[in-house]
Symmetry: C2
Subunit: 168 residues, 2 copies
């Protein structure tokens, strides 16, 4: 027995995006309960040249949909980066989950050696599906989900590790 | 073609631990150049009830060695949590990399359905190797590597995403 590329990708991204959605719902409830300006959280950056919460969520979504699309040999759908509110971010996650749910296991399976071409700011990067998933998409995706969580924790939103990990 | 459990685990953890080691080396160089107290970074927490940098690195190491050991059907080696300095943390990562390097692909391959038993604070968790790796070990591991990075970035250490991702 081995692992299929689908088992290793789409459902794992979807699960973490659902956890991120639940985390953002707790953050919004926190803002409402404390009568805070939501932008104090959505625009917050852990350092001036890091991305704010909105962008962390957008990139987490992009890494997930990009991985699922590219492994399936599809062009990743373009989602404009216009989100500002918590409701906007929830809608972005929902669209991403819809896309992930639309891709069938058979489209992704067998993509271990499929050449993936990434257009990065540093130039074009070509790598096999296996290395793209495990050494690019995964670390990037988790980076942005975790940084979104850290921004909220740093600002006093009551979250725990189980919100991030979810139920196995 | 499919993915082997070894391909999906040991080398991926090792790669990120090497990136974490390089990140910590940059943090130590920053402390020395600015003549700072190293503990201002190693003991820093993003929120009072979050773990400090030292513990983030310890847990990242534990998640990596725990995953590699459990998938291979071995008892994870115990590493005491006594690290305080950057040198201590580098030694902890080096010991973890040594252990990961000592486990052969054949020991991990075929562990997709192997029952993994985790003793968590919340009780015993039993799950197949596949779900343990992708829905427990990976998200936990990346959480702690990213949080270590975020603690350092938040405190002005000059790091970029390429330090985190490394060279594919």
């Amino acid at each position: 027995m081995t692992v299929s590329m689908y088992q290793a990708s789409a459902p794992r991204f979807a699960r973490m995006l659902r956890n991120l959605s639940a985390i953002l719902a707790k953050a919004q409830a926190h803002v409402e309960a404390k009568k805070l300006d939501a932008a104090a959280l959505t625009a917050y950056r852990l350092y001036p040249d890091m991305f704010p919460l909105t962008r962390q969520v957008q990139i987490a979504c992009d890494q997930a949909k990009g991985a699922v699309a590219r492994l399936a040999g599809l062009e990743p759908p373009k989602h404009e980066d216009a989100e500002q509110s918590f409701a906007d971010l929830q809608a972005r996650i929902a669209r991403t989950l819809d896309f992930i749910g639309s891709v069938k296991a058979a489209q992704i399976d067998g993509s271990e050696a499929r050449e993936i071409v990434l257009k990065l700011r540093s130039g074009e990067l070509r790598l096999p599906g296996l290395d793209y998933l495990f050494s690019h998409a995964y670390p990037n995706f988790y980076f942005h989900v975790t940084t979104a969580y850290n921004i909220l924790r740093h600002n006093g939103v009551e979250l725990g590790k189980s919100d991030y990990i979810g139920t196995p």
